[in-house]
Structures are given as C-alpha cells and as structure tokens.
Symmetry: C2
Subunit: 348 residues, 2 copies
DNA sequence: ATTTAGCACTCGATCGCAACGAGTGCTAAA
DNA sequence: TTTAGCACTCGTTGCGATCGAGTGCTAAAT
C-alpha cells in the first residue's frame, strides 16, 4: 500500500490521465496513446519511466508484460479522492434536474423514480435509492374500509408518510359504521405513538378493536424492522452493454444482487452508519462489502433529515465507471432530495 | 405458410421432438442426435427425409447447409398449440405455490411479488404482472393529514383498493381539524362516484374543499388513464445466462423494454382486448407486437373479475423458452390470483 | 542528474490454412 | 417405402506465422 502524497506533480498528472483514459476507452493505456491524446512536454520514454514508478507504487497494473497500464483499486481511489474535492455538476444540468423535481407531482414515489432515472442517465450505470424512512415508526392515522363481506381493507399511515395497506378477513361481517368508529377511536388513542407504546397499551374490551390493534402493532413492527424504505432502481439494462458485464459471468453475477432486494437494502443501510448526510462515499472494488462486488464500485450518499427521516441513494457500476459524472450527480440529487424531504417532514 | 393438419403422425412426432430438444440444448438438432436421445423404429435416413419435408413445410429451418434443424416460428407455434391442450402443473408444485399464496400476508403487493417470483423460478425467464386494476375508477375514501406547516398528505382510496397518496402545499396552514372535516365531507359526497361524476359536481363554496376536490379529480383521472395497475417484474438477471441474451446485442435490446414500463404496460393491456380471463395466450416471435421482441416469445394470461377488476401476468423469454413449464405455470397462477381477487373485490 | 532516442524483446491479437466432423441430400439397393 | 452408402458442405478447431502495441533497458544528449 502506498502513502498518499508521495507523488510528484508529473506522476500525479499521468496517473489521473491514465485513469481517465481507461475509464473512457476500457482499454489498457500505453505511453504513446497518452502522448497522442493529451498535451505533454516530455517524451514517451519519460512517461514510461513514470508509469513504471506508478506501477511500483501500486497505483497501476499491467494485465501482461506487453500491454498498457490499467488502474489498480488504489489508483481509482487516488483518482476519486482528487475528484471528490471539486467536481460540481455543470450549472445548466443542475437547473434541468432541479426543474424536473419541482415539476414532478409532489409524491415520494415520483421523487424516487425521478431520482433513479436521472442518476442512471447521468452515470450510465445502475442507480438505486431507498425511500425516506423514519428512524422510529410512529402512528399517524388508521382507516378501515369494508370492501366486501368479511374482507376489510386496512390503511395505516405512519408519521413518516409511509402508507401501509393490508386486507383483513374478519370472523364475521362488520358494517362500515362500526369500522369507522373503531378506526377513529384507535386513531385518537394511538396518535403519535411508537410501536412499543402501542404494544404496551392493554388490549381493550372491544374484540374488534383488540384484533385490529394487534394487526396495527404487527404492521408497525414490520415497518420498523425494515432497514430502509422501499428500494427503487434503474439503469440495469443500460449497463449490460458495458464490456465488463457482457464479457464475464463474474460481473454479471453482481447484477443478481439487484434482485435480492433485502441484501442490497442491508448494504445501503450498513453504510448509513458510517457516513452522515451530505458526504458522498465511494466504495471501490467492493471494499468492506460483498464478495460479488469485487469488480464493482458504488458511489453513495444519504439524504433527508439526520436522525429522523433518511434514505440512501447510490450508483452501482463497473470499477471504471464514470466517477466524474457520477459523483457530482449523486451529491446534487442527494441535496435536492434532502431539501424536498425537509420541506415536508421537518420538525416532527 | 403451412396448413395445420397436413402432418403424418411420424412427422408430428419428429417435429415435437426437434422443438423439445432445441429448447433444452439451444443447439441445432440433427437426425443422429434425435435417434440417440429418443426411441425410434426408423433409421436416420428416414428421419432426415421427414426433416426435409418439415423444412419444406416451413416448420423447420437450417442455419446453414451442413447444420441440424432449428424450429421456425411456425414450428414453435405447432409445438405450443399441442402443448396448450394438455399440460397441467404437477400436483405437488400446485400445492406448494398455492400454499405460498395463502401463507403470504393478504396484501396485493405481496401477491404480486410472490407471483413474479414464482413465475420467474418456474420459467427461468422474465416474468411480469400488473396489479389488478378497476375497469372504472370509483372514489371510496379520502383522508387529509397535516404533516407540517402548509404541507398536507392526501390519501385517496379507490374502490379497487388502489391507494393514492400525494403531498399538497396549501396556500396557508390549515389545522388538522378543518382538514378532517373537509375529508369527511368530501368522502360522504363522493362515495362510490366515478371521475366524471366528481368532475361534474359544481365546485363548492368552501375554498379548501374546492381545491382538494380538484386534486381528487385529477388523481382519479390519472388512475383511470393508466392502462393497468402497477407493473412488477422479476427474473431479469437470471435470463442473462441464456445464450440468446449473452451473445447478441439484438436480444439484449429486448430487455431494455423492461425499463420502459409504460410501453410494456401498453403491450399487456393491448392483449387484454383479445383474450378473456382464463385463456393463456402465446405470442411467438413478437407476432403483432413490438419490433424489439422479434427474438422473443411472450406467454400471458389475464386474471381477476372480467369487466370489473383485472390484471395481466406473463412471461417474456427467448423464443426457445421452456413452454412446457411456463404455460401451465402462467395458467395456474392466473387462476389462483383470480380466486384471491374475487374473494376480496367481487360484486362491487 | 534528467531526459530522450534507439532497440531488443514480449505477448496477445489476427490471419491463413489444414484437418475435423456433424450433418445433409442423393442414389441405388432392399 | 425404407435404408445403407457416400460424396459434399461448411462451421469449428487447432496451429503456426506474422503483426504490432507496448515495454524496459542502455547509452547518448541536455
């Protein structure tokens, strides 16, 4: 492992260019190629020497003796940390995205699908996001709606705005009025309470209400146990044209994670512990993460109101994903969503 | 194009075996291979002659002169129509699936994810389903919940059980009591009404209610305009290991459809016009469907209560998908869902 | 002490070519 | 009508030659 700042200015320049070129071309980059495409005052031999040094330092790697250089994970990391400092999304793009969000219908679901769509387009990789999720599930409102016979639709709204619906089969038909009364009563009693409080309240005499409050507690416990809000993603098919994914079965297996939603949610949640809202984290080569993600990188950030109502969004792509488009986009969208969520849920 | 029943018994047997073998092996099948793997009383030469005849008739095709035979679309169709007649899912599998559904929490969302998961596993292809969708959107219930300041969460429940939530920004803060009164009033007035009826009712004097009823009408119109319920799918990554998809960019492009949810919904909705609930339709080679689906087949069925509350489910896979596992599975799951939906929504 | 021109060397990629073999269609005998 | 026999087709496989992008090293130049 190399120390951080032992690079000369020229080495730094060469390293960054190699990474940049490799990200674009997906081909090992050699000294001549570098001279052709970028401005240099030195000759190819000098560049070769520097590249050898960078290889020695662990930032670059040769797939085989007579090939150009490819960044190592360490190399990507250097590139990314240089990137993190600066890198704003261009003004006009910011405006477009911002506009799209304010144009959209004010529903969380809309925001989520818009966010993944924007990120997928911007990064050309797979984007994911979890809906904002309250740190603590608190009861807001209950509605019971008779549909037919003994079937009742229960709609449970949490203070986070999360809506939970479930179909109950009662032992016998109950008229809508009685259902409404029960719902109003329970709503009054439970308003603002947490799962524990609701579970602790002694079951009331009324059999119907007792049944229902049991189900309410269950539903809330489920909501609380979830590590995050609902997961959305986009860009899966776009990424299939990347060479990494069409070639190797290895990388393709990584995509299989996407259908194991709970696994992925856990991954996102785990990182929440580390980074606060605002900062962009970049996991390169699946450091500290899953085996399947060896070949991948993840750029992620958290949004929302810290400690109250947060979600995670990120981009999953090949290690040579376009960080300079992805990182600013992730940061910007996270900021935008924090604002929107803040407007609606702040101070509960 | 060949007439339907001009095949001798032996030709029929050979054709079905060729299709079956090709579906399994993904390799052109020759006369010798057929003799090895299945029981024949004739020699390879006879089989060759019959294969030549079947090629002449348009059921088979040779990728090149010295290769085995591959089914044409016509060949697949013959195979499928032979299949449609019989083909039940094995009893134990039926029981397992049935059990899973009755075990699941009684929520539409659960049913949908379970359905796609079962179908994806059973068919080894991409499965899709649209949530049950009412033929006509009818108002059931409205709830207004103040979250913070001028922000109000509107929860609109339709008689179909579809729940619609949206965040409103009012001109000025309104206390929860006033919101509740408005919601109760509107719920009474609108109960059971269709979009048109609601839009037709003259806007009332109360400004708050007027605003809200406008939004309700908008939301209902959106719900009505949607060609189907929410789209779920599964099995995307599994299908990537099929040779059709890892080899050709062509087939991979078909998968891109899956992220254009509206397109896909339209496709499913369009077929609804043709087949009623119960029958399984098989679209081979994207007949009458999209350009992108040239290489694919779709097995689909409708479920629910005809004319009232229906959804579509299907499997999208390569033309050589395993019809004999897919067709019975689609039929069975459609039946199961019809029952479940019927229990809850019948007779509204 | 750097930098650079020159050069031998490496090794994957590409090309051409021969051999292989699965599969066919045809003919003639059973 | 079936089938054994056979010539023929043509994609696949294997192999050696060649190519060329790229390297590292050495020795001269700055």
């Amino acid at each position: 492992m190399a120390a951080m700042n032992d690079l000369t200015e020229r080495q730094r320049k060469i390293l960054l260019l190699v990474v940049r070129d490799y990200i674009e071309s997906a081909q090992p980059v050699g000294s001549l190629r570098l001279l052709e495409h970028y401005q240099f005052e030195t000759s190819s031999a000098t560049v070769r020497n520097e590249m050898a040094a960078l290889t020695e330092l662990g930032y670059l790697r040769q797939p085989h003796t007579s090939a150009g250089r490819v960044p190592t994970e360490e190399g990507y990391r250097y590139f990314v940390s240089a990137m993190l400092r600066q890198a704003e999304l261009p003004e006009p793009v910011q405006h477009t995205i911002s506009h799209q969000f304010h144009q959209a219908r004010p529903e969380v679901e809309e925001w989520m699908t818009l966010a993944v769509s924007v990120l997928a387009r911007q990064s050309q990789a797979v984007s994911l996001i979890t809906a904002p999720h309250a740190a603590q599930a608190r009861f807001k409102h209950l509605e019971l709606i008779s549909t037919q016979g003994r079937q009742v639709l229960m709609v449970l709204v949490l203070m986070s705005g999360e809506v939970n619906q479930q179909i109950l089969s009662l032992a016998e038909p109950v008229p809508q009025e009685r259902l409404s009364l029960a719902a109003i009563h329970l709503t009054q009693v439970y308003a603002g309470r947490s799962v524990e409080e609701i579970a602790a309240l002694s079951p009331r005499a009324d059999a119907l209400e007792a049944d229902i409050s049991l189900l309410v507690a269950q539903a809330m416990r489920r909501a609380a146990e979830q590590t995050g809000g609902q997961l959305y993603f986009d860009g899966l098919t776009r990424v299939l044209s990347e060479p990494e994914f069409s070639d190797s079965e290895e990388a393709r297996r990584a995509l299989r994670l996407l259908e194991e939603r709970n696994l992925l949610q856990e991954l996102l949640a785990r990182s929440a512990a580390e980074g606060g809202v605002g900062g962009v984290q970049v996991l390169i080569g699946g450091e500290s993460a899953w085996e399947e993600l060896r070949q991948c990188s993840i750029v992620l950030a958290h949004y929302g109101i810290p400690g109250q109502m947060t979600g995670t969004l990120g981009v999953l792509g090949p290690m040579r994903m376009s960080y300079n488009r992805t990182i600013p986009a992730v940061r910007f969208v996270a900021g935008l969503l924090s604002e929107l969520v803040g407007d609606v849920f702040a101070g509960q």
